[in-house]
């Protein structure tokens, strides 16, 4: 259990870091990816917390689908910007 505890702390730190990173970086794609990383770590934590279905959902929807949607939105807004220029 102590090991698990340590893992959780590590992952927590990683999540916090990438969350901060997501907010700090200028590049939107990087921050979308960083948020995806947060979700991914979260799903691992869920697994450790005996919540496998949540973990699966988080990984698929939170980390996967969500990131895709964000990227799509970025694409849409960038396109228009370029067309405009």
């Amino acid at each position: 259990m102590e090991l698990q505890h340590g893992i959780i702390i590590l992952m927590g730190l990683a999540m916090i870091l990438s969350a901060i990173l997501a907010m700090v970086v200028k590049d939107l794609i990087s921050s979308v990816v960083a948020v995806g990383v947060v979700s991914l770590f979260a799903s691992i934590i869920y697994l450790l917390l005996q919540a496998p279905d949540v973990a699966m959902t988080e990984a698929a929807i939170g980390a996967g689908l969500s990131t895709l949607i964000f990227l799509y939105a970025l694409h849409k807004t960038k396109d228009a910007e370029e067309e405009n220029d």
Binding site: I8, A19, A42, L49
Partner: protein
């Protein structure tokens, strides 16, 4: 309070901070997503009971005596719903962002202040 609560709350605070400081609308939506992730962590942690197993009744032992063996399934069910809804809301927000972008060609939230006072 255990460590996961702390992580979750820190994530939420980072998200709030992001929502307050980021000017880019997509980043604000991202920040909200971080808040939601943090929240979901907290929620699952509320249901977690040390030494218990997942609420999947895959053995006879569990079927016979679920209440003392498994972690609380309800928060997990809630979180599942919350995740789905959260993503749906985020997606909807992004469509709004895209539409707004088409109107004014900018993603800066400070440019959308026509409605005020």
């Amino acid at each position: 309070m255990n460590i996961i609560h702390v992580i979750g709350f820190i994530l939420m605070l980072i998200g709030f901070w992001g929502m307050l400081t980021q000017k880019n609308m997509i980043k604000i939506v991202l920040a909200l997503a971080i808040v939601e992730t943090g929240l979901q962590l907290v929620m699952v942690a509320f249901g977690f009971i040390k030494g218990r197993t997942a609420p999947i009744l895959d053995s006879a032992e569990l079927v016979n005596n679920p209440a003392s063996m498994i972690v609380d399934p309800v928060p997990q069910a809630l979180v599942l719903t919350a995740i789905v809804i959260g993503v749906a809301v985020n997606a909807l927000m992004l469509t709004f962002v895209i539409r707004l972008y088409q109107k004014k060609k900018t993603l800066s939230i400070t440019e959308y202040k026509d409605l005020k006072w």
